[in-house]
């Protein structure tokens, strides 16, 4: 968590409108798989893309304002913290935001 705005931990993933509102897309970032979601209020969330339960593709999940549900067995995970609300292991969560030119920026520790 040490990287500042100018630190090497920031990664620009391309235009926000690559992600349809209410859905998620997966990105490979520095060897990590990250699912980025664009909520209906326009804000972004980023969590690891691999479901800790049985490896389901998290980016294919269904979301609301708080959680993402894995498409395979419907385990749910808090989008802010990555913690499961249904008793599965946690996802990792990453700081994410849109920069001035509407690009997705994610920060890796």
């Amino acid at each position: 968590m040490s990287a500042g705005l100018s630190g090497g931990g920031l990664h620009v993933l391309g235009p926000v409108d690559q992600i349809p509102v209410g859905e998620g897309r997966a990105y490979g970032v520095a060897g990590e798989q990250i699912a980025v979601f664009r909520l209906r209020d326009g804000s972004l969330r980023a969590v690891s893309a691999l479901c800790p339960h049985k490896g389901g593709p998290i980016a294919d999940g269904t979301i609301d304002r708080n959680v993402v549900m894995c498409p395979l067995h419907q385990h749910a995970f808090d989008l802010e913290t990555g913690c499961s609300t249904t008793g599965a292991g946690p996802l990792r969560s990453y700081p994410v935001f849109a920069d001035g030119s509407q690009n997705v920026v994610v920060r890796l520790p």
């Binding site: 859905e23 997966a26 979301i63 549900m69």
Partner: protein, 836 residues
């Protein structure tokens, strides 16, 4: 006859007392459980005889078996393994005929003489058969089509008889608890039912005439005809049931008769063996037969202080006392009789009754509240400020408190009206709080109040969660209300509701009908609009999205605003997600018909994209498994065939047989009709998947009887339409909706049924639950006879959905959203589905 369990070896070292139990029913097995719980296996070598060729089962649940909610396998209390593990020798299907009290032997009908040191008689009772002409054949057997309602065999016999299609009407003799259960159960097989009751009102053993009148209204509202003060004088038919004759009313035609006119204790063995028998086998407060040191009796075959009980709660108490004595665990233990309070759901109506039905003395107070239009009736009899009797119908909120007050003679509030309603008097909690920890809340599964409170304190605070963990309320269900009250009490009012039970989707607190009208009134055309307008704080809910999307699409057809994030991934990419995150593609093959050209293309595509597995599905289609998401558009493009519906909560496929064209038996062109139906309804959303079939003759090669909608060609160019069948986790034969003259009418009625189902079923409720819940009679009235005048509206709504169909695979060339087909799979390889 067979001895199912291995016989207990009498090795010379075994000096334990020989305990023999006659009767393997609810009381016999319970007594043995209580004995084992007191360490009785150390002292006793146990042998049980049971007339029925099974282990021990929950007789109460037979009503559920009859209605199809439970299958016979699911109601066993103790499996054969249980007997084996506890070293109990079970002679199942063996009847005991006589006891020699002096030689201490029991003789059974397999020619065996079994010695005992201690004997328990638990022979229960059987249906009492009224003296009615024509009930028996000259050979002494029940006339074909006449059933008692007592055992698994009775119940299964009834079910299979009722399911034969030409059997359409039943008469139940007896309007007590059992008769009403039988009537309701038979209805779920599409059989019309009349109840003939000799008493002046229904359930006259449990309630007075006013309550009976309210109950009658509720029962009639279910479509059951009731004839009270009416005696059956003869069964008509000769070779099989064709009707019943009543004393002073016209005959009723029917194919099936159920006798539920009371029970008679099984006392033959006791009588023949010289034991004291009055109304039943006489026992003392230790459950011992008088003057017999080593013979006990328990259950419905017993008369204790002049009382004979016909419910399970008393026999649980009896079994505990008996076990205290047999094992010597507590020689001071006594049974002093039970105050029976009945809490039941009879034919879907909550019924509770205890003690007196009506005042007997001038000084008795009597509170009565009656609201027949809602099916609610409450009556309480009070003597010396104590409750001595109560009847509650249709509203059981006060049951727990009243039962407690009745059992324990609790002092009553001055303001009596608070006994009937919640007016700040002693509420439900007061009653629950006073229950002892050992008090049994669920009788079917023997769950105590303590077990429930411990579970809640362990962190499980939803009713459904507690029910899952403890199994409380999962038997006959009559205690569910009490279970809920105990959970609420234990959780100090912080019970987490499980709204999914009533709401169409968990995130919007409305039942389906209310939800639909709110959506229509406000013109809500998208999932996000529904959340904004109707969800608490306007919050979206991931779990609710898919159900809402399906509902809106059904309601608005072409005017629906399609938000892709509301769809499940399958419906976003038009393929079925697999366990490794890849997808499967099932090219459309209407009616299961394909061509060499199609097959060749499929084979080429499979080669080109290294499809790991090509498989035929249960629905006669070809499945290409293991396609990565990013390959989907290319695979579809190369196939050049439209999407087959193998995913989603929607109309899937129509399975067909060869039919008339090629089959030598076929009487109808099943393939053609199947293709027509599949073309018409392709892609239609529904609350759960819909699988259909069309067979060309009653040989049913397409398995039409176990489909959501199944069509069978019958002789004379006619077609039968079955609905509500299933052959998956649940197996159910569909109910005959109609027999029609032409394929056009088949398509019309099938569509009308599907539309009715789409409008009225709960989210994820398959037709095999929906059809019995709503009732085939009602469906037939609405769909075939247009009794509610809505048929044209249903047809029109379906037509709108059909017209708004677009081929989702067209998106292959023009993705609907950016990255629609971009992989979501991680770089590292997941546990791969094995490649064959």
């Amino acid at each position: 006859m067979t001895a199912l369990a291995s016989r207990g070896r009498s090795t010379p070292a075994d000096t334990r007392r020989r305990l023999v139990v006659i009767g393997n029913g609810m009381a016999g097995a319970r007594a043995v459980e209580e004995i084992l719980a007191r360490g009785g296996a150390v002292q006793h070598r146990i042998t049980m005889f049971g007339d029925e060729p099974y282990g021990n089962y929950n007789r109460i649940m037979l009503s559920h078996v009859l209605s199809g909610e439970e299958d016979a396998g699911g109601i066993f209390l103790n499996s054969l393994d249980w007997y084996r593990e506890n070293g109990i020798t079970l002679h199942a299907g063996v009847r005991v005929e006589k006891i020699d009290r002096f030689a201490k032997l029991v003789f059974s009908d397999d020619g065996r003489a079994t010695p005992y040191d201690v004997l328990i008689i638990a022979t229960g009772s059987r249906s009492s058969m009224p003296a009615v002409e024509g009930l028996y054949t000259p050979g002494g057997r029940l006339l074909q089509g006449v059933f008692a309602f007592r055992t698994i065999d009775d119940t299964q016999g009834m079910v299979s008889y009722a399911q034969q299609d030409h059997h359409r009407r039943a008469v139940v003799i007896g309007g007590g608890l059992l008769g009403l259960e039988a009537a309701r159960g038979l209805q779920s097989h599409g059989v019309g039912v009349d109840v003939v009751h000799s008493g002046g009102h229904l359930m006259n053993a449990q309630m007075g005439p006013d309550g009976g009148a309210v109950l009658r209204r509720s029962v009639e509202a279910l479509g059951i005809r009731v004839h009270t003060s009416s005696r059956t004088t003869a069964i008509l038919g000769g070779d099989k049931v064709r009707g019943v004759q009543l004393r002073d009313q016209p005959n009723i035609e029917c194919d099936l008769v159920v006798v539920a006119a009371g029970i008679r204790p099984n006392v033959e063995v006791a009588v023949t063996s010289g034991l004291p028998v009055e109304r039943a086998i006489v026992v003392d407060d230790h459950m011992r037969v008088p003057d017999e040191d080593e013979i006990y009796a328990v259950g419905e075959c017993v008369q204790h202080r002049g009382e004979v009980y016909g419910l399970v709660a008393p026999l649980w108490e009896q079994a505990a006392v008996l076990a205290d004595h047999v094992t010597g665990a507590d020689p001071s233990s006594v049974y002093l009789g039970s105050r029976t309070a009945t809490k039941l759901k009879v034919a879907g109506v909550d019924v509770a009754s205890m003690g007196l039905q009506a005042p007997e003395r001038d000084t008795d107070e009597h509170l009565v509240f009656s609201e027949p239009s809602r099916g609610v009736f409450k009556s309480i009899v009070i003597r010396d400020s104590k409750i001595v009797g109560a009847t509650l119908l249709g509203d059981s909120r006060k049951v727990a408190y009243l039962t407690q007050a009745f059992d324990r003679g609790l002092p009553l509030p001055e303001e009596r009206v608070s006994l009937l309603f919640d007016l700040g008097g002693p509420g439900e909690e007061a009653g629950v709080a006073e229950l002892g920890g050992d008090a049994q809340v669920c009788n079917c599964n023997g769950v105590s109040k303590r077990a429930i409170t411990d579970t809640v304190r362990g962190g499980c605070t939803t009713l459904s969660g507690v029910m899952d963990v403890t199994r409380a309320g999962k038997g006959c269900g009559s205690c569910k209300l009490l279970v809920r009250q105990v959970v609420e009490w234990a959780a100090d009012g912080t019970v987490d509701e499980d709204p999914a039970a009533e709401y169409y989707v968990p995130g919007v607190p409305l039942e389906k009908a209310a939800l639909m009208s709110a959506i229509r009134d406000r013109g809500l055309r998208s999932v996000s609009a529904v959340f904004a307008a109707l969800a608490p704080a306007g919050a979206e809910d991931a779990k609710s999205k898919m159900g809402l999307a399906s509902l809106l699409k059904m309601m608005w057809a072409g005017e629906y605003i399609d938000e892709r994030d509301a769809r499940f991934v399958n419906d976003r990419v038009h393929a079925n997600i697999q366990r490794d995150g890849t997808f499967s593609v099932v090219p459309q093959m209407k009616g299961g018909v394909t061509s060499p050209e199609q097959l060749r293309r499929i084979a080429d595509v499979a080669d080109k994209y290294n499809i790991p597995m090509v498989k035929l599905t249960g629905g006669q289609r070809i499945d290409l498994l293991g396609v990565p998401k990013e390959d989907l558009p290319k695979v579809w493009a190369d196939l050049g065939m439209p999407s087959g519906y193998a995913y989603g909560k929607s109309f899937r496929t129509v399975k067909t047989c060869v039919g008339q064209e090629f089959c030598r038996f076929g009487t109808g062109d099943s393939t053609k009709l199947g293709i027509e139906i599949e073309s018409r309804f392709q892609g239609i959303e529904s609350p759960a998947k819909l699988k259909l079939a069309v067979s060309g003759c009653p040989r049913n090669c397409a398995e039409s009887l176990v489909k959501d909608v199944g069509v069978v060609a019958v002789d004379g160019g006619r077609w039968e339409i079955y609905i509500g069948g299933a052959a998956g986790a649940h197996i159910r034969k569909g109910d005959l909706l109609a027999t029609v003259d032409d394929p056009g009418t088949v398509t019309l009625l099938a569509g009308r049924f599907m539309q009715y189902y789409r409008e009225h079923a709960n989210w994820l409720e398959r037709t095999y639950s929906f059809v019995p819940r709503v009732g085939i009679e009602h469906l037939r009235a609405v769909i075939v006879d247009d009794a509610e005048g809505i048929a044209a509206g249903l047809d029109e709504a379906m037509q709108r959905s059909v017209d708004s169909y677009t081929d989702p695979w067209a998106e292959r060339n023009d993705p609907f959203t950016p990255g629609q087909f971009r992989t979501s799979l991680p770089l590292e390889v997941l546990p791969r589905v094995p490649i064959r």
